[in-house]
């Protein structure tokens, strides 16, 4: 996994609540057996018209936001299905950070497995960043995971909270499976005990 340290990039505003994973990447793109190449389908139904042409009004199609690396969105971002295709699509498009008042649990978790930083902030602070994002390419945000801050285009700084372990893994690009396998003896021991306690499993 690519480590996440600092990111200075254009932030795209998506002021919708309950952005669900069907919206982020609809089902026709889920048929792949690869992790890559899903950026084309990101926000498909909002991004493209029925004939397949780009919808020029959608934020990521507007010239200022075509290279956005940060998304600022409404409450309960990523609700719905467990599809990891949602963070894969964001990443493939180039988005490595999503800022919202809250996230759905499974999506939130899936982000960390893919080097994407989801940041939950109080609504009033998201509103400020949404205003910044509305200013387009002239308004980059700088996200510093080490310092746990977001710096706005006018120099103001917003601190954010994040689980220390998840921060550590993201900063170092650590692979979960490798880390867990270091505890294989604990799993072996547990498995033996469980086989005694609940032999019917």
């Amino acid at each position: 996994m690519t480590p996440f340290t600092t990111l200075a990039g254009i932030a795209a505003p998506l002021p919708l609540v309950n952005v669900d994973t069907d919206m982020i990447i609809p089902k026709q793109y889920l048929k792949t057996i690869e992790r890559t190449g899903l950026g084309r389908g990101l926000f498909d139904e909002m991004r493209y018209r029925e004939d397949g042409a780009e919808n020029p009004d959608f934020v990521l199609n507007r010239p200022a936001y075509r290279k956005a690396e940060i998304l600022v969105a409404g409450d309960n971002f990523g609700c719905g299905s467990s599809r990891e295709h949602a963070p894969w699509a964001l990443l493939d498009f180039g988005i490595r950070c999503v800022i919202a008042p809250s996230f759905a649990d499974i999506f939130y978790n899936n982000c960390f497995k893919n080097g994407i930083l989801p940041i939950a902030l109080p609504q009033d602070q998201v509103d400020l960043l949404m205003d910044d994002a509305e200013r387009g390419a002239n308004a980059t945000l700088t996200v510093d995971l080490e310092a746990q801050t977001i710096q706005g285009p006018d120099g103001g700084t917003i601190p954010f909270e994040i689980d220390p372990w998840r921060r550590h893994c993201l900063l170092n690009g650590l692979d979960d499976i490798g880390l867990t396998l270091e505890k294989a003896d604990r799993i072996d021991a547990f498995e033996k005990e469980a086989a005694q306690a609940r032999p019917w499993v």
Binding site: P15, L16, V17, N18, D20, D22, M23, P26, K27, Q28, L30, K31, T32, I33, E34, R35, E45, E50, G74, D75, N76, C79, G80, S81, S82, R83, E84, P87, S102, F103, A104, D105, I106, N109, N110, K113, N114, D163, P164, W165, D176, I177, T180, L181, K183, A184, R186, I187, F190, E191, A194, A197, R198, P199, W200, V201
Partner: protein
């Protein structure tokens, strides 16, 4: 009170029984008893194992079944008749299941079906277990008092390789449904009403335990419907304490314990209930008598109203929900103030992991017996598994559906998520027993109204959203 003798919730007890390791910051390795796998969220996980030279730690506890992509029409065993874009995932599951030696129910097996219906049916899902699947509706298995999480593909790979899941403990939420449900009100109405009350993010960060007289009175099928939609309320898992009904359902299933092991299992299962005085971080109480047959009007499962209500106006909402309601109404093609019962539909879909079990088909058939689907309407019923289908045929339900004008399909996820040929066309309006009414969920531009199987059957007869009580044959008992 804390410490080992402190009162515990059911969630606390299952958690404690599966804790393989806990770091100082509370990050835990939760041991997983059963891992269910389907073709959409697993190919990248198996590929990851292969690339790293890793194997599946417990193939004996891993169960694979294709469901999302499979067509539900005859002839699907022939790969040539499966749409080309679906073949790669189905072929990958087939290859991975055989190569890694996991339990496998291909489409040629009568036991094939939707993964969340197959698990309980085969006795893989048992009380007190931890169950995971790369699918958010894994919450379904919580109906047995099993801690069942939906997980992402990276986590699928992690469980395949280590049989554990990295987790931080969620908070405890109790949803109590007191009293009795009124005639015509089903488990689906209960679970949708709860989501309407708490919102789609109300359960975020929690594991929900559903309890109360109305929950205890539900069949196992009904309890699965309730837990299935815990995720639509934001909770990663929903639970119901196991009881005699649960044990009765599990007994004799192919993978349930037998003999002395059965007795030992039941003895432990009986301890699986929240202790009096257990600490709840959030409590929601709803009177069973206050729940009506409901339908959704918008594009979020929280957009739910009793069938005798009218389409709401965006100005009835607050904050970000004002814009969301406006967008929903526009997408759904609805005008505020329209009685829900005046909304005409084009299609009826009965099926899914929410409502594709035998009891659901019985409830729908009960309404349809001797009646016909309204002219011009498309109606299909998709049993949740090959065994549900066989049982429905044996009970004569299939004939009722066919005589009424329903298509009688083969088992799969079908139109719940439209990854297979069963899809809505743009603007097509569907009465559906599935779990999500998101934009495009059942097909681009498709309009979904969620409801119970009996309500969907009633809508099929009248051609509009309908109060099932108006078609009900059993007289309502006096108060």
């Amino acid at each position: 009170m804390t410490g080992p003798n402190a009162p515990k919730t059911l969630y606390d007890k299952i958690w404690d029984a599966h804790l393989a390791h806990e770091a100082e910051d509370g990050t835990a390795l939760l041991y997983i008893d059963r891992h269910l796998v389907h073709e959409v969220t697993s190919p990248q996980a198996f590929e990851g194992l292969r690339m790293a030279g890793r194997s599946v730690r417990r193939p004996d506890q891993t169960i694979a079944v294709p469901d999302h992509n499979v067509p539900t029409t005859p002839g699907r065993e022939d790969a040539g008749r499966v749409p080309e874009d679906s073949r790669a995932q189905l072929a990958a599951l087939d290859r991975n299941a055989r190569e890694f030696g996991v339990h496998y129910y291909p489409v040629t097996d009568v036991r094939q079906g939707i993964v969340h219906i197959v698990g309980p049916e085969q006795g893989w899902t048992l009380p007190g277990m931890t169950v995971v699947c790369g699918d958010s509706h894994t919450a379904t298995h919580g109906a047995f008092g099993a801690l069942a999480h939906g997980i992402g593909t990276s986590e699928v790979e992690h469980v395949l390789a280590t049989q554990t899941l990295i987790q931080k403990k969620s908070r405890n939420m109790k949803v109590e449904i007191t009293g009795r449900l009124r005639p015509g009100v089903t488990a689906k109405d209960v679970t949708l009403t709860v989501i309407g009350r708490t919102g789609t993010a109300g359960g975020t960060g929690y594991v929900i335990e559903y309890c109360g007289e109305a929950i205890e009175a539900l069949s196992m099928e009904g309890r699965m419907t309730v837990c299935n939609m815990a995720i639509e309320g934001g909770a990663r898992a929903g639970l119901i304490a196991p009881d005699e009904k649960t044990f009765e359902y599990c007994k004799g299933r192919p993978h349930a314990p037998k003999g002395a092991q059965w007795d030992a299992a039941v003895a432990w299962w009986r301890t699986l209930k929240s202790d009096p005085g257990a600490r709840w971080d959030k409590v929601v109480t709803i009177r069973g008598e206050d729940i009506a047959p409901v339908v959704t009007w918008g594009t979020s499962p929280e957009d739910v109203l009793p069938i005798d209500a009218a389409v709401p106006s965006p100005d009835q909402f607050e904050g970000g929900k004002v814009g969301a309601a406006r967008r929903s109404l526009d997408y759904m093609g609805l005008t505020p103030g329209t009685p829900l019962k005046d909304i005409a539909i084009d299609t009826v879909f009965i099926g899914s992991c929410t409502n594709g079990r035998i009891e659901d088909l019985r409830a729908a058939a009960e309404i349809l017996r001797g009646r016909r689907v309204k002219d011009g309407l498309r109606a299909m019923v998709v049993p949740g598994s090959g065994l549900v289908r066989a049982q429905a045929e044996e009970e004569g339900l299939a004939a009722v559906f066919r005589d009424a004008g329903f298509e009688w399909r083969l088992a799969g996820c079908s139109m719940c998520l439209a990854m297979n040929p069963d899809q809505l066309a743009p603007g097509e309006r569907c009465a559906a027993t599935s779990n999500r009414n998101f934009e495009g969920r059942q097909g681009r531009g498709g309009r979904t109204h969620l409801m119970s199987p009996a309500m969907a059957a009633a809508a099929a007869v009248t051609g509009r959203l309908t109060d099932v009580r108006e078609l009900s044959r059993s007289p309502e008992p006096a108060e």
